[in-house]
Symmetry: C2
DNA sequence: GTCTATAAATGGATAGAC
DNA sequence: GTCTATCCATTTATAGAC
């Protein structure tokens, strides 16, 4: 059963790891080939160049993130149930962090990706808006329409950049504690909108969740 | 009186403009020299290389942003007065956007800047915390200590990344309307904490401000 | 599919004349 | 301070053998 892994897939896997570790700009096609112990020529047989590799990696990312972002829209969730989706979004972004660490630079060189990434951002925002709308509908939060719209946009930005912010601010910690920090800070954005009666429960839930996962 | 502008300063000015327009990674020392109509050798007489130029630009940025971030701490301000500082912070970031557009990449190549930038982020957060604390003290907002701390961190991240988010999401608009959008979205983060009586006033103020500046 | 070898282009950097 | 000339290293990319 141990099928031989295709060279194309090995290239993608290795490139992703190197990009995330050293930064995409610091990694050349020669280095990727070197780590894999294949020739540069072989690499160029599979991919036209670094941009082609990045675009192939983006294909994978896009498919996964779209799935995650579409899931919570389908059924209304309680506040308590939403954190798992936030967690998964952060995990995906973390797995693909070389891209998020150099968004502008990469999108300049891969212009095809720009509209696709913009659509992902809008999907993030729409998903957030739809969840907030559901929560407001069932009275779990109290929040005007205008405030919900602004909050949804900030949600999308927060999900997109928080991991980078934490790492730039000089926080130490392994991947999973940083992601938990992200989930916590995201959930805290909802706190002021939770009405008085449930606010204690909400704080309790956040505390428990943080304790469990840290 | 029309003093001749020093070549060193012309290099910095041109490099900043090119970096912001084309992205730092896409601009070579040769190109900078070419635009200035000086030889690459001359450029290297003034700066050891691109990193030295970036670090000199960062010196300027750091000095200005520290000034802005220190100003509002000195005296307590009403909510209405704070927007001008937010506006100026966004303007500074916009003037220096090549750096914010490739934070990770540049900090990898200029490791000296990393702790300095981390300190700026912390200063952003501290300034926000101190303003929030003052506002809470005078009853302009209602917000627990824990919520204030979390909000201050999100403020810092929001100031740092919002312009990039808007541009990546595909919004059109000139510089100043994008910055106004930033100020507005930042102020909206405070809205849920404004107590009932003043909330109408706050909404009114935000609307007026947006109308005036757009 | 994979390799070797090498071309072609670019960018960083310096020496030495003016 | 500034220029010309040049060198070196890196990277992308391709041709052709196996």
């Amino acid at each position: 059963m141990a099928r031989k892994v295709k060279t194309r897939d090995r290239i993608l896997k290795t490139a992703l790891a190197l990009f995330n570790e050293e930064g995409e700009a610091q990694v050349s096609t020669v280095e990727i080939a070197g780590v894999l112990d294949i020739s540069p020529g072989n690499l160029y047989y599979h991919f036209k160049g670094k941009e082609a590799i990045i675009e192939a990696l983006f294909d994978d990312f896009e498919e996964e993130i779209r799935q995650v972002l579409s899931a919570p829209i389908k059924r209304a969730l309680s506040i308590e149930d939403n954190w798992i989706y936030i967690y998964i979004v952060f995990e995906e972004i973390n797995d693909f962090r070389f891209f998020y660490n150099n968004l502008t630079g990469i999108l300049e060189r891969c212009p095809d990706l720009r509209p696709r990434f913009a659509r992902i951002l809008r999907l993030k925002e729409e998903t957030a808006a739809s969840i907030l709308s559901a929560l407001a509908g069932e009275g779990a939060i109290e929040c005007s329409g205008a405030e919900r719209a602004a909050l949804a946009a900030r949600f999308a930005a927060h999900l997109t950049f928080w991991l980078q912010f934490v790492s730039l601010a000089g926080e130490k910690g392994d991947n999973s504690s940083v992601i938990n920090n992200g989930v916590h800070s995201t959930m805290m954005m909802i706190a002021p909108y939770v009405p008085g009666d449930d606010r204690a429960l909400f704080a309790e839930m956040l505390k428990k969740q943080t304790a469990t996962l840290k």
